[in-house]
């Protein structure tokens, strides 16, 4: 079963627009949610993360919004740039018990100049 779901599978925005990538999860024990960015030919790299005690995390143009009650989170990329074109993975883990990092299937973002 997919414990972490991402949507949309692919997203195209114009340069300067805000891209919104969605993620939902099932396991209520998950309390750590990193987003990873992957460029072709490279391994994923940590972009930004949030823990469940917070409902928002900002890092420059990247913001995570977290809704614990609905088990949903989203990554907002403001002022999108062509260099942001990549695949973005939402992941989740629990700090107690099996802390395995579970990845979603990814969103492929294309930013058109």
């Amino acid at each position: 079963q997919q414990q972490v779901r991402q949507s949309p599978q692919s997203l195209t925005v114009w340069e300067g627009e805000t891209a919104i990538l969605n993620c939902s999860y099932e396991d209520s024990t998950f309390n750590y949610f990193p987003w990873y960015q992957q460029f072709p030919g490279e391994g994923p790299a940590l972009l930004i993360s949030i823990r469940s005690v917070s409902d928002k995390k900002e890092d420059g143009r990247f913001t995570i919004f977290f809704n614990k009650r609905e088990k949903k989170l989203s990554l907002h990329i403001t002022d999108s740039q062509p260099g942001d074109s990549a695949t973005y993975f939402c992941a989740a883990s629990a700090s107690s018990g099996s802390w395995q990092l579970i990845f979603g299937s990814g969103t492929q973002l294309t930013v058109m100049p």
């Binding site: 994923p44 883990s93 579970i102 979603g104």
Partner: protein, 112 residues
């Protein structure tokens, strides 16, 4: 920055063949992982380890063995490779279970 080096970067083998994928990390991280990446599935955890000599089973372990010989080195073994194991394999490491995970550049394995 943490460095995770995988070898080989590309490998082609025949069905039934033996394959060993190697991984070395140079930041003395406790945790090391093997993931496979397939379109539509994201990254799926095969095996992981939290120290030399330790091995834990991930979500998709069937057909794979792993060994953690030192703090730095983690190997993935396919003893009877099958076409279903054609995939992009990533090794990764982290200091703890819920801290940043650093990935290698991947090994593309093709089983014909």
């Amino acid at each position: 920055e943490a460095a995770v080096t995988q070898s080989p970067r590309n490998k082609v083998t025949v069905t039934g063949g033996n394959v060993t994928l190697s991984c070395r990390q140079t930041n003395s991280h406790n945790y090391m992982y093997w993931y496979r990446q397939d379109t539509g599935h994201g990254l799926r955890l095969i095996h992981y380890s939290y120290g030399a000599g330790n091995l834990q089973i991930g979500d998709v372990p069937d057909g794979y063995k792993a060994t953690r010989t030192t703090q730095e080195d983690f190997f993935l073994l396919l003893e009877l490779a099958s076409p279903s194991q054609t995939s992009l394999y990533f090794c990764a490491s982290s200091e703890q279970g819920d801290t940043e995970v650093f990935f290698g550049k991947g090994t593309r394995l093709t089983v014909v």
